[in-house]
């Protein structure tokens, strides 16, 4: 079981390690810089860190024996001469990486393959550990891609990538806002999935249009790939057919609004969420930070509070800031107010590691 966490924050990347049964901050990298996401590739131990330098753009770094080295950043193709495309605000859409929002390793039979999702909607694949990147042009050039809209940001972005553990060619992505997409040929062709989701922010004509769905996070059970969970902008949805269709889980206390979801690696009916009040009031209900857990596919939820702040807590947990270890026992939660909690019993109890970190964007077991 991994004893290390990587915490991506507004002001650096922090390493948190378990020592003598306690978790503590043991290191910091890129201090002062905006780190949006990390990936630890379990096939070879390499770590990747996505940085956003603001003025100087998005950059990608990879771990070395002695620290970090900058590697290639996914780069959008040159926009054809005379080609015009506007974003949802009517402004020219700049074909340029605005944020790295998803990093996932390829399958066990594809050493060196890394997938990368970005704003404003480009999906990239590297086959050489990030030395170079190829844009999935069939997705970028798909006519429906132009219907993607901003959700988590002004620009649309790919935040979730799921690679089938049994067949590396089968890949799912989720877009905010643009629904769930699937490729069964390693990214050569893409189809829109996600029937059954509901967008209450859309007009009646498009409420159930799969492309209108603001998926906040998509999670797939590795041992049962038919089971996918979605934390959506206005609800929780679950699929039993690999994302083709979803059913809504309603009447969940304290709320069905939130950003992250994780699913147990071997128990497809077990998933965790971090609820906030609702989209126009993004704070925990009654100032109590809770994690909700279902063990029966969404019929019932446990509200987990032990060790989490239950008074005047205004922590928001972003879509990448709830992590589950590969064994499905340990969880970690990081918040926008710099709080970090770890559970070693599937969320029944939590220990606060710190509440003084910079705003946390992503938490991952290394």
């Amino acid at each position: 079981m991994t004893d290390t966490l990587l915490i991506s924050t507004r002001k650096g990347l922090f390493t948190v390690a378990r020592k003598a049964k306690r978790w503590e901050i043991t290191g910091g990298d890129f201090l002062g810089d905006n780190v949006s996401l990390t990936l630890t590739d379990r096939r070879d131990g390499r770590r990747y860190a996505a940085l956003d330098h603001g003025h100087f753009g998005v950059k990608l770094h990879r771990s070395t024996a002695n620290g970090w080295e900058e590697i290639a950043t996914p780069t959008y193709p040159q926009k054809p001469e005379g080609y015009e495309e506007n974003d949802m605000w009517g402004r020219p859409l700049n074909w340029s990486t605005a944020r790295i929002w998803a990093l996932e390793a390829g399958g066990s039979d594809e050493p060196g393959v890394i997938w990368c999702g970005t704003l404003p909607g480009g999906l990239f694949r590297s086959s050489d550990h990030g030395q170079s990147w190829e844009m999935m042009r069939t997705l970028w050039d798909h006519p429906k891609r132009k219907q993607w809209m901003g959700g988590g940001a002004d620009l649309p972005g790919i935040h979730s990538i799921c690679v089938d553990p049994g067949n590396s060619k089968r890949v799912w992505i989720a877009v905010s806002t643009g629904g769930v997409w699937f490729s069964e040929d390693g990214g050569a062709n893409w189809t829109l999935r996600g029937e059954g989701m509901r967008a209450e922010y859309a007009p009646p004509e498009s409420t159930h249009d799969p492309i209108a769905q603001d998926v906040h996070r998509l999670a797939q059970c590795p041992a049962a790939t038919h089971r996918m969970w979605v934390q959506h902008h206005n609800g929780i949805f679950v699929s039993s057919d690999e994302g083709k269709t979803f059913s809504e889980i309603s009447d969940v206390e304290p709320s069905t609004f939130g950003f992250p979801v994780v699913v147990h690696p071997g128990e497809p009916d077990t998933a965790w969420f971090v609820p906030e009040i609702k989209d126009e009031k993004r704070i925990p209900r009654d100032g109590k930070l809770v994690v909700s857990r279902t063990r029966d596919g969404g019929k019932n939820f446990d509200i987990l509070t032990k060790g989490l702040p239950q008074s005047h807590a205004y922590d928001v947990v972003y879509r990448h800031a709830l992590a589950l270890c590969e064994e499905g026992e340990r969880l970690a939660v990081g918040s926008t107010t710099g709080g970090l909690w770890v559970s070693e019993d599937q969320g029944d109890s939590w220990d606060c590691v710190t509440h003084t970190l910079p705003p946390i964007y992503a938490v991952r077991f290394a």
Partner: protein
């Protein structure tokens, strides 16, 4: 040759020493500088080779007007400053 000076703030990410290069436009001069320092290119220009949103360039004390093509004229005695824009926070 024109002289190019980069903001000190970029130096902690990628070393950009003062440079000299010839060219008739900001684009021509910068491309020559980046030919010798390719890592610096993506810190100043975006994926479409336009000036990054929160970078500014001054030529002989005047902010350039063409941020896309970088066509503002440059002469052999020009001084080009590549700065951060305050708009970036």
């Amino acid at each position: 040759m024109a002289k190019i000076v980069f903001t000190t703030n970029i130096q902690r990410h990628v070393v950009c020493p003062d440079a000299e290069a010839s060219g008739h436009s900001v684009r021509e001069v910068l491309e020559k500088v980046f030919a010798d320092n390719p890592q610096a290119r993506s810190y100043v220009l975006d994926d479409q080779s336009a000036l990054r949103k929160h970078i500014t360039i001054f030529v002989d004390g005047k902010m350039i007007g063409d941020r896309t093509r970088l066509s503002d004229p440059v002469n052999e005695t020009s001084r080009i400053y590549v700065f951060q824009a305050l708009s970036g926070g």
